[in-house]
Symmetry: C3
Subunit: 504 residues, 3 copies
Amino acid sequence: MSSCSSDLAPLLGGVANSSAAADYICNQFTDAGFAIDTTYLLFSAYLVFAMQLGFAMLCAGSVRAKNTMNIMLTNVLDAAAGGLFYYLFGFAFAFGGPSNGFIGKHFFGLKEVPQTSFDYSNFLYQWAFAIAAAGITSGSIAERTQFVAYLIYSSFLTGFVYPVVSHWFWSGDGWAAAARNAGESLLFETGVIDFAGSGVVHMVGGIAGLWGALIEGPRIGRFDHAGRSVNLRGHSATLVVLGTFLLWFGWYGFNPGSFNIIFRTYGPSGSIHGQWSAVGRTAVTTTLAGCTAALTTLFGKRLQTGHWNVIDVCNGLLGGFAAITSGCSVVDPWAAIICGFVSAWVLIGLNKLAAKLKFDDPLEAAQLHGGCGAWGIIFTALFAREKYVNEVYPGRPGRPYGLFTGGGGRLLGAHIVQILVITGWVSCTMGPLFFALHKLNLLRISAEDELAGMDLTRHGGFAYDYHDEDPSAHGGSPRGGFMLKSSPTPVKPKANQTATANQV
Amino acid sequence: MSSCSSDLAPLLGGVANSSAAASYICDQFTDVGFAIDNTYLLFSAYLVFSMQLGFAMLCAGSVRAKNTMNIMLTNVIDAAAGGLFYYLFGFAFAFGGPSNGFIGKHFFGLKEVPQPSFDYSNFLYQWAFAIAAAGITSGSIAERTQFVAYLIYSSFLTGFVYPVVSHWFWSGDGWAAAGRNAGESLLFKSGVIDFAGSGVVHMVGGIAGLWGALIEGPRIGRFDHAGRSVALRGHSATLVVLGTFLLWFGWYGFNPGSFNTIFKTYGPSGSIHGQWSAVGRTAVTTTLAGCTAALTTLFGKRLQTGHWNVVDVCNGLLGGFAAITSGCSVVDPWAALICGFVSAWVLIGFNKLAATLKFDDPLEAAQLHGGCGAWGIIFTALFAREKYVNEVYPGRQGRPYGLFMGGGGRLLAAHIVQILVITGWVSCTMGPLFFALHKLGLLRISSEDEMAGMDLTRHGGFAYVYHDEDPSLGDGSPSGGFMVKSSAVRV
Amino acid sequence: MSSCSSDLAPLLGGVANSSAAADYICNQFTDAGFAIDTTYLLFSAYLVFAMQLGFAMLCAGSVRAKNTMNIMLTNVLDAAAGGLFYYLFGFAFAFGGPSNGFIGKHFFGLKEVPQTSFDYSNFLYQWAFAIAAAGITSGSIAERTQFVAYLIYSSFLTGFVYPVVSHWFWSGDGWAAAARNAGESLLFETGVIDFAGSGVVHMVGGIAGLWGALIEGPRIGRFDHAGRSVNLRGHSATLVVLGTFLLWFGWYGFNPGSFNIIFRTYGPSGSIHGQWSAVGRTAVTTTLAGCTAALTTLFGKRLQTGHWNVIDVCNGLLGGFAAITSGCSVVDPWAAIICGFVSAWVLIGLNKLAAKLKFDDPLEAAQLHGGCGAWGIIFTALFAREKYVNEVYPGRPGRPYGLFTGGGGRLLGAHIVQILVITGWVSCTMGPLFFALHKLNLLRISAEDELAGMDLTRHGGFAYDYHDEDPSAHGGSPRGGFMLKSSPTPVKPKANQTATANQV
């Protein structure tokens, strides 16, 4: 918009004070732009925050009832502790420029904010992203991790590991960023196009979870004596579906919201070509990738298991979203269908592999976010379209784009580097942390706790209590009679029926 | 906004390059408009999408626990399959103009998008509408329909039946559209004012469900041997309330969002009269209709049954929303109260009728969306206000408006035509489809499956496992009688 | 924006028709402003409405299963009845100016709307606030109140008590409003800065609930024969977490949305300083206060009880939000951390006090919304920053601000008046109402109803029915035990126990 005044002033030649008039008009447009863009970014941030609610419900439904309180507490604390740490230093590590390529160094405790490039709304948006990464990991190590271990790794991940990665790929100073500050050279002349974070968010969370789950080992009973996989089903499919839909809802803030601003024209001003259209396209690619992955999973699993399983479909859907997250803004809708189709098979394959290797991840988080996230990074390097890349990452004419769309292999090279670097960085930081916790006996709960459920032993009781506890209500009768009845008439139990009443 | 330059240029006379200056400034305003309108439309689309979550929870809570996995899967697949089909051809059938009045023929696979009238955000918004229609129908035939039948009818409905109807009433080419392209004649010089789709969405979904439920027959146990109605209650009122509130939340995208744009002035530029105010009014009428319907249902049902029932109130609320959807943008807030009041009695009446006729619809979807939707269409024709009609559907001087507001009977006639045409079209397409599935033995599940619950037989297990399954805990003792088991084989 | 034309016209001097040109351009900006601000306000209103869903789930999860239908019905009716009453007269009482300082008198049934200062979107936003106040109160008196009593007090609260309070503090005519119409004197030259309603909404709802719960007395079984407190746990922690996250989500409409407009510049036009930045800052302070309160509660409760309890954390979180609501727009992010920290201890302290005094509030609503709300009002008077106060409440140079930030004690004086006045007004209106209902035997349900659960006796049956009712499905097999158990130790069924298992 800064060019507005210089463009407009000559056109107003003949006016007494043409440059002042041009300034005046252009400043009004700048204000309107701030208002629109902030509205857009803030509501996107609220949607991304809603994903935390989705995670909480998805995790709660996917674990057994006896560990529900535990997993929900971790989700609440991801958001709460993440808010404090990200305010104190996480945001500074990630975006505190001008800085070096490795880590940021300004904005601690939001000092110097607001400034031209970073307003409070940017902080809120990035915070919502940071807590998502921690949420992914808590799924991998669910049902068997000490709460103290959770507090430690979660703070470390949200406060340091994740911010550093986001600095590399998203900050203007980052060594591998596609939108690096003008004048600095790009990695392989292209930089990494990880638009909304298949790598930065999903792979980071997934690989951290992989190490945690690997070091802890599987839950008791997950593999039987003969080594066969036993499905430890979550306690509520309804919560899983609720969580999945909420994540879908929130993903519309995650992917299209990553543009941060919507008031920017691509073509000549006044035409329909602008960021608003790219934002809409991003929402469409996101939708189509998830939809395709869900349908592929539905039929793929049906062929394998013989039934139509909504839980599998939900996971497939989320895998498709995790994959498209990287390239959502730079690919065509038809390519998103390919992305979703492949990601469904990636998830199915990795789940088979995990069962074979006796790797236990209660939410399939490592497979889903790590595996599909990695596929998404590759996918972007294959299908990124020249026009979209230049619109979304402007100012570098002739930059490489997707291999299959004729843009050469450079982008693919950069993206393979991204996968390796993220894997290495997270493994080198979170791996030793989990290992140290393990050696200190702070990682895994005792077998007794695990069998009884953490809710009972650590969190003050179970999550559900449908039983009527008023002792007086029964006049001293034993606590038989569970309370949920809907039969219009009271059922008179017969002796021989009730004798087996509790055997299923 | 195109008139902006021609208006502004003479005012800037004296400037060296007045027309260039004017077009420069006006182009900036156009950009501002695109940014605002797309922001508005996209977030509205997200809200409408959240209705799918609402449907899923409402349906899940309204069926018995043993069929929960089944109904939730249909809701997820509505969205997922709907996304693909609507992308491939549904959107093209609906809005692919220029075309004829019956069906669209452009934009297959989003080709030629974006263009000035259709951007990606429009597609996303319409997709969210399309999946809502399929969601309504899946409620009517819940708990007794084969999953394969569901896949077939859902694809057909989202991909063809619904898009064609929306073309008729919402596309600029549609033969009955109130916002028809300039130069083409309107049905009864009025066209059908179905602003957000009481007819296009709710009646279509409801009538499709009516045929499905009619052909399948009631669930086992729904009517006893003496023919008396036995309520088969859903398994969780909490989920019903959750779903209802989510639908209410999403309806704010459904009705006010149907304006698509918010940056448009009605009065002289710079005054408070603009689409922004109409959008707010639409949100208010929507709210008031639902609130009135809920209260009417509360007291109406209390008088009949003697207790205060939250599930009934939720259904009444949704009935009020379904009714106001048609006229929300063209009626006054006080009229919305009338709309909601009547729709509550419409729903109560239809439910009584359904029980009398032994028609079983687990979610009351046919009565609610079909019946209240039809009432809403009539209501609009009675209470549409002249000023609002001309603001929302501009460019046609002297067009008819509501009968009770002095606008004559033409709008009512057009709306009766709409009801007949939608009923006819959906009956002629979905009726034979359901009948064919029925004859092929693909529609209804076996009675064994129905008794055991589809989750167990088709979907890999029940939805809930509150029971602790660690064998080591049980000490071999019978792990006392929890009812929801996930073992694939019955013990 | 009205000054736009007069600013721009001289700059366009030399143009044939400079004032017409300036008008034309400025009117376009006005239109853009209406479009942006209405979009912002409406979506904020939708978020605030989502809080009603949050309340419903929070309340449902916090009561016993046998009263779930009852409490959810009250939440649905808060919204529905509130919609009608607020449309008919509530909005008129609150904002119907020009009027006197006590109560408004225009806009009955939305007559005369839209006009320059009040559009339909303002009504919708204020309605969403009004129903929140009623929702708070219904939590306090849950599980033991007749439905008719609920209908009466809820209408009275939403239709009269709350609108009058909001008129005092938020309307331009209000005698204590900080943004009082130009030319009228402010209370203590400052007025009350209750930006989003710690007092107007939360204290009103909390104190109404206090009187209701006090007059009704505790639930049966809440205190045992020896007078010890017995925890009557809610039936589902999952619903509590779901509701809490939804409230958090909705609070982003509640606090930042209270600006109503976002397109307004503070500094020179064209700079980054504008209401958009203040909106973002408000979202950040809100987040940080809640996060800090959650963490403080986590560790504070852990020290007291020995376990990590997610329900307590959720309540702490909400307490932090209720406290920051008053000052969210005029304090710095670091101050929000103090606000949250103290509010956690306020809630813990008041809960201890309530247990001691045998005061029973199933949702801790009186303590949480009343207590933390009052703390928030004090907090604002201590930490409000001069710059922010003058930006958010412009046009009165030299107005007082926070005591600790050097603004003197006037604001604190005004805020103490606010606490006293709200307490007095709500006590004098709701107290007698509840007392009269009590005397007429319309307030509390019978002991039989309470023991059996209101869902069964008044609402047509229980909320849950996980049991399979098709008699034929069991082929004569026993319809064994309902499924939800929460007993800490496995119950070994004895014959005489199971004999009564199906009798409720």
